[in-house]
Point group: C2
Chain length 223, copies 2
Amino acid sequence: MANAAVVLLSGGLDSATALAVAREFHFDCYALSVEYGQRHRAELAAAARIARVLGAREHRTMRVDLAGIGGSALTDLRVPVPEGPSAGIPITYVPARNTLLLALALGWAEVLGARDVFIGVNVLDSSGYPDCRPEFLAAFQALAALATRAGVEGQAARIHAPLLALTKAQIIATGMRLGVDYAATVSCYQADEAGRACGRCDACRLRRAGFESAGVADPTRYR
Amino acid sequence: MANAAVVLLSGGLDSATALAVAREFHFDCYALSVEYGQRHRAELAAAARIARVLGAREHRTMRVDLAGIGGSALTDLRVPVPEGPSAGIPITYVPARNTLLLALALGWAEVLGARDVFIGVNVLDSSGYPDCRPEFLAAFQALAALATRAGVEGQAARIHAPLLALTKAQIIATGMRLGVDYAATVSCYQADEAGRACGRCDACRLRRAGFESAGVADPTRYR
């Protein structure tokens, strides 16, 4: 029987690729999306489609009202999404987001008896978020060994970030090889209801540059 | 001006005492309750009262649907709450709960610019949950330094667990000194709507023994 893995799936390009990688390694995938009050809800609809197409065993969406704490352009509608490059950590950073996502994944993994968790973070072509760095992931791995019943029993889930050191172009090349339909993914921070992208935010710019540099026609639907 | 602190407040005996300790240290307290699908919702009503009485600046309740992942007697109504002592980690353990609670507190602290987070865990008279141990807290502290913008800027929130090494009797003595009204707190895992305790679950037994050993009349309302 295949090993079970929890795969964090936002519906964007990176997490769709992470799911495809987990499937390539023969994991029985439990895809987890988190509705944390993000603007770009079209991502969540995309996640459901991607989970189905890429053969996830189950797809679950959990709600956490991060919008209640605000502090990010992704969860606070009063804060505009920047449309040019920003210095340092951008305002689209969501405080403690990946800690929270991994905590939910860890909890579900423990209930499922899954020993593996996948997250599609990458450090090179990312936006400089602190919780996309290898040292953050190492610290979460150390925490997982102490935080859970499985950890106490020496069976802590392993946190996999297979895209961590890849460029956006390499991620896209990986996904193309594994049959990911990137037209179905939504990366834009301010996608409209139909999932069409603005083409101007940080996520759109990184994504477009990735397709260009991978030599792949950009399938993104822009509005 | 007083320093701001986020205080995790379940509405139980321990977290009420942690809030009183934070107030004793002159923190401006932002109390955070999390509705994670727990059976004992009376705790949340208690939390609102306690936050008010103990002078929290603000009290916020965030929702996270941990019931969706199940795996615990506290979130899965089909799993009965045990009424006798259990060996090892009991079924009332909620997978990855304190990781999640601290992630939410960390996120809110960052938005508030708060440098301190209080959590009322204690290891001695606890139920053997892995995420109440000092090594878990140390690992979360290490994570906090890497997970957030504040951490990157060398301003990571400090995680305080002032009750960590105290017995239940010592916690109660601390709270009595600081004027905590324990009649307002709800610890029972299966309290009824009015907040009345069963007197038989693990939480009730630890609490009752604590009052006895502290030489304080037990103000708990049993049903």
